[in-house]
Symmetry: C2
Subunit: 371 residues, 2 copies
């Protein structure tokens, strides 16, 4: 069975909905933690449930290289392989090809992309068909079409050709998609250009995907304004009865801005990567636990937070773990940071229901940025 | 209140007992996981409970350097600092001084030991009094007397002088020990020499400690035979109504041999260190998950094991995590390896109760070594 999106309430362009999947229902807007290599770094599936993760994301490119999609398929699919019975979304591998191997030569051809493995330099060739075939075998709940992610600085001409190629790739991928229990999303590209975003959205929607994502907004050289514009350019052309996913975005303010512009789903490595570097989200901004001022701070990371880390541990202890390079520190901060973003989406849903999302944004940003 | 040891059953020299502590009762013989820096690497306190850890060990030397015993005391002691409400034993720092800084100059004087921090080379001076004072502040359930751990290869003359100094250090430490809720153990040294082990045991017991440990058996240059002999030389002189702890030993066969010779408590970093290197204990010997033969092995680490890792994950998945350098792999293997040793002690208790411990040893070793 495919996923089904149910629109429950709107407030301006912001929407509250429910995503019905074969692995349970998910309230949207939602933040999806990233489990690149079939594990959300440092965490167990039980801990993901405890922070109310609705969907998690896993990376096709990484699983293709290690352990290989055939081994995952033999294990009974990704859910069984990693012991996660909630919904899983797999990306298409495109972003990884363009980001992980960005300093190496790659050939983008009509047929696909030739590039070198970031692990061992081996020459690899990924095509739209192969990306979908791998995802079919991984048996995620939601697969993504294979796309190109050009940098925002690419010329208009390049971007236009790229958008057209991504449309042809989407069509080719859709043709070979053969897993009846897996939904397939189309990806809107077009960089900072209004006409290209519109063109990409309109043409992608014509192919009738199970959901739509907006890609190419998490590049290093992208400004926040570019990102917000990209969403605004695309959203009017996306159908109301399908979920909308903003790829690679996990900054709290960006999530709020995305939701206000009509986005339902977000993902990012941000919360777990910050955790490994000793940083924690709080309502009053990010804090760096390595800071000496936390040495004797016997209060939780954030007063009022309901996560496991905040219920049982102090900043002083977590600081000690981080300074001593103990992975339990990264684990506690990962739990907290993911829970922080999920709570944010819970509050956004509530604000939409109560029709005060603009006030929520104002209050949140004022406190978060300390202005 | 001090700990109290209750002897319940013997079989030869092997004993089943119960250790009553301020943080719960513990069945002995028991294996104690090591939480060097106030955390058992990769694991949560809940996971330690789940594998039925009775007591955990933490390292005075490491906590002295980071975060410092005053911060732990301000947090309310080690239990509260690390959120572990079971019993905790702290070592004295002696072994770390002699092992972690073994390639650096250190001056062993009557007053104490001058050496350089393994973290930053800072000059440090640890004395018997300071070791006990630090442990008093850490507020562990069981503290250890400060001792010297000379290598087994030291001359008889050196060893004799060292044993005498360790006795004087034990007395000095006992004098300053002032935490009424903390028990204090004496340490028997003497290397491979029967007369020195006897002398050390007899003189240490005269000081009337709450328990006794046998040290200096986990040095790199110690043979298994030396270790077994060291136990045999000391045990006859230790009182029946006090617990006996063999320091730094965690090999399954050594645990069995120790129990047969009258040991009640063991500790070792072995199970968690092996885990981080991708190794798992099984009844049929240690396995290395990096081995390619486990790529498609969709069975648990060990059939019949009741640990979280074995209940939910396959060798193929854990292998993938280890190869991909994901810490959840080390976490699953740590859970399994600790549970393996704790189950071993559970079975040893049962074998003692049923008076068939020699048969148990024979069966275990035959299968473990594949003979």
């Amino acid at each position: 069975m495919k996923i089904k999106y149910e629109l429950l309430k709107t407030c301006g362009k912001a929407r509250v909905g429910k995503l019905h999947t074969n692995h349970g229902d998910v309230d949207t807007p939602i933040f999806m933690p990233v489990g690149t290599q079939a594990t959300v770094k440092t965490l167990s599936p039980e801990e993901l449930k405890e922070v109310h993760s609705g969907i998690i994301l896993s990376n096709t490119y990484h699983l293709w290289l290690r352990p290989g999609e055939d081994i995952v398929a033999e294990a009974g699919g990704l859910h069984q392989f990693m012991n996660y019975d909630g919904p899983i979304l797999t990306d298409c591998g495109g972003y990884q090809v363009f980001s992980l191997v960005k300093n190496k030569k790659k050939d983008i051809m009509e047929e696909g992309v030739r590039f070198k493995s970031h692990l061992n330099g081996e020459s690899l060739f990924l095509t739209p068909e192969l990306s979908i075939q791998i995802q079919n075998k991984l048996d995620s709940d939601i697969a993504m079409s294979f796309d190109e992610c050009p940098p925002a600085s690419a010329s208009y001409e390049y971007m236009k050709n790229s958008v057209e190629r991504t449309l042809r790739w989407a069509e080719r991928g859709k043709k070979v998609h053969s897993n009846p229990n897996q939904s397939l999303f189309g990806i809107v590209q077009g960089g900072p250009h209004e006409d290209l975003r519109k063109y990409s959205a309109v043409e992608t929607v014509k192919m009738n995907f199970d959901g739509y994502s907006i890609g190419g907004v998490a590049n290093d050289d992208e400004s926040k304004e570019d990102m917000y514009h990209a969403i605004e350019y695309a959203i009017p052309y996306l159908p109301e009865d399908k979920p909308r996913y903003l790829m690679g975005v996990g900054d709290p303010i960006d999530i709020i801005e995305g939701v206000i512009r009509g986005i339902d789903m977000f993902d990012c490595v941000h919360p777990t990567r910050l955790a490994r570097h000793g940083h924690a989200f709080t309502r009053d901004g990010k804090i760096n636990l390595k800071n000496a001022k936390f040495k004797r701070d016997f209060t939780p990371l954030e007063e009022g937070c309901d996560c496991y880390a905040c219920k049982h541990y102090t900043k002083a202890y977590i600081r000690h773990l981080i300074v001593a390079d103990e992975t339990f520190g990264a684990r506690l901060l990962s739990i907290h940071n993911i829970r922080f973003l999920i709570r944010l989406t819970e509050e956004l849903r509530e604000a939409i229901r109560e029709e005060n999302i603009l006030q929520y944004r104002e209050d949140f940003i004022k406190r978060y940025l300390g202005e």
